[in-house]
Symmetry: C2
């Protein structure tokens, strides 16, 4: 192979892309009897397999010439029509021209990055934030700056200060990335006043908000808040939604909505990226939605995940040491735990795996490399029994690890 | 929306990406009674809808927890195992570690480009070459240099001269892109000696061959030639294959094979690009292959396409003017026509559409902007009747257009 050893073969950005440590750890976990509180995979009991089977039979019996063929880059028109209506985009005067179907939300993140980012451009993110989004931004050479959050989301004073500093250095912040509901990993939901403030600030500083909203509909309690996307009427917000958390991830279906000029650019880029998203899968999702099944499915899934969240919070209360604290999310898939400063969850993970329990250490989510004493716990995938047993094991790991540190090297 | 008017919003590479004129024309064609010899879509009669339906039922009844879930970025292991065996990769000592499943071959082209290309890097292509590949390379800022072909493929003397010139200018050619069998658009198949020579040259100049091989199995006559990929034992060749032409495009399934270090890099990049390809679709393709159906399907499809090719060649012989010449491909989907120099197929296309027939003008495929008097005719999608009628109409368009030019402006 030509000169791969001296790395002259790969592009500069590809050279910087490394396999994520999480991914490697997840691989180990998958092949063992570890209780995983790590991955963010939906519970397969929430997949409507029987309905999807019936829909497949119908599509392949009546519509196979369309379903198995190439299709348009924008995505199936009637699916976009459904989404525009379901997501009440008429409030924004948005139509199907403002939506593109993508091969999962990750492709949405990739295409948004490809459309907007030159190497060296700045992306503002929450501290902590979704690792795979950070990786997408980095793969286009973005410089990532994190802003701390409180229980209402990103702290606006720090955000505004940071933008002023960036401006004073003549650098360019292209967009701010936010997961507005039940944030991954922190579980935080941005308050309404903070949403409005965020919009006000980006308009002053002339940058885009990329609002990632996968957990929006997985709300267990409290009042749903309007998305930042819906509060904006000037095209400042790009919205990402997905079928992965409300139907199933295996179809790889998501959407990006935004100002028509941005969507048109993304369509052109997607054309060169993968031509189109599977039309068979789009037809499946469309039929499922069109038969009125999606809202019922969400309703019953919310009950399943609520129960899991409750068991996780109860177990944390029951087993975790007093010096640990954690978020109490009103929805979504994750609880974020903060341990005493002296505990490093990266190294503790090896102890946890020995005790047959896993989590994702928080530092992976921190663009600034902090958060060493934090961890993300997912309640979405494991059974109720496994959640309790997992938390029990993890509590033991923390206690032992903590006392081994306190006891010094000799203990 | 922030500053989109002055184009400060989009990345430099995205600013350069424009909607392809072909794509716009194809849209017009699709919504009318035009006979299209333009698109390269497979004939839906070749789609094994009934078998796919039965497989879907089986998968969703027995294996839905896997089929509807997230999956590995590399792709379904047993599908990669099947491909490694089917493609006889053991000859090269290649294993499943040397294959990644992609969301269509276009994603393969995108990821290969992302892995290898920095803006300004040179990619060598055939003149003419596949438009969507050129677009993928351009989307990473590649400079594209085309090498003319004769009936045996790229002309090696010109190729070598060009590489010497590039070297003398201290520029970097990263890879040469070739469609080795029944080339799109030219229908040319590279001869065995030319394949060997190509390998020899790239080793001297230390660059990669990206061999795109979608039509390999769609051979109507003549002896199959070993792929360049199979002739190489030192990791100089990246191979792209696809299910789109041998099963159906709607599943969006293809593969990239190559040196393990290159595949590993592509896996990391795919992770940030779309996490994984639909596992449901991968299971469908795997079951279809595993049930021994793929070879039979190819066999019967080859008969369908051979008949279509024959009708197109006969019709060209019968109706086309004497000064036109065309390729006689031994396989694939396309015939490439060369008209007299004074005819411009870009402008003639408007006349053709008036006469209810469409083609793709050749200039789109020429990286150097030449080929104004050429056009690609696809026999894959239209019916036998439409092929003959389309060629008849097109012959009339050429004759009329030609005499309108000869007759001057007033005629």
């Amino acid at each position: 192979m030509p000169s791969v050893k001296n790395e002259q073969l790969f592009s500069k950005l590809a050279q910087q892309s490394k396999a994520s440590s999480i991914r490697e750890i997840l691989k180990i976990i998958q092949s063992s009897d570890v209780i995983s509180l790590a991955g963010g995979m939906p519970d397969p009991v929430t997949f409507p397999a029987e309905e999807i089977k019936e829909i497949c039979i119908k599509i392949l019996a009546n519509n196979s010439s369309l379903a198995l063929q190439y299709s348009s880059t924008e995505g199936l028109l009637k699916l976009r029509e459904f989404l525009a209506q379901w997501l009440e985009m008429d409030v924004k005067k948005f139509t199907t021209d403002n939506i593109i179907i993508t091969s999962g939300s990750q492709q949405g993140l990739d295409l948004v990055s490809k459309a907007l980012l030159d190497p060296g451009d700045i992306v503002i993110v929450e501290l902590p934030s979704y690792l795979a989004a950070l990786n997408a931004f980095r793969s286009y050479g973005a410089e990532i700056i994190g802003i701390p959050m409180d229980e209402d989301g990103m702290i606006m004073e720090i955000f505004e200060d940071k933008l002023a500093t960036i401006k004073s250095k003549s650098k360019k912040a292209k967009f701010v990335y936010t997961i507005s509901n039940f944030q991954n990993p922190a579980g935080v939901t941005i308050s309404l006043s903070r949403r409005k403030k965020l919009l006000e600030i980006v308009k002053n500083y002339n940058l885009i908000i990329v609002e990632d909203n996968p957990y929006d509909k997985i709300r267990f309690e409290g009042t749903p808040l309007p998305s930042i996307f819906s509060l904006d009427h000037e095209g400042y917000v790009i919205n990402l939604g997905t079928f992965s958390k409300i139907l199933c991830p295996g179809l790889r279906l998501a959407w990006v909505s935004g100002h028509q000029e941005i969507i048109e650019k993304i369509v052109i880029l997607k054309q060169a990226t993968d031509l189109c998203t599977s039309i068979l899968n789009q037809l499946i999702a469309y039929e499922y939605c069109n038969e009125g099944l999606i809202d019922k499915n969400i309703e019953s899934n919310v009950l399943i995940y609520k129960k899991k969240r409750d068991v996780m919070l109860e177990s944390l209360e029951k087993y975790f040491p007093a010096e640990a604290s954690w978020t109490k999310p009103e929805g979504g898939f994750f609880v974020f735990v903060t341990l005493p400063e002296y505990l490093d969850t990266d190294t503790m993970l090896y102890e946890a795996i020995k005790e047959k329990v896993a989590y994702v250490s928080g530092s992976s989510f921190y663009a600034n490399g902090k958060g060493k004493n934090t961890m993300r716990l997912s309640f979405c995938y494991p059974s109720l029994e496994d959640i309790e047993e997992g938390i029990k094991r993890l509590a033991r790991v923390i206690t032992n690890y903590s006392s081994s540190l306190k006891g010094g090297n000799g203990s």
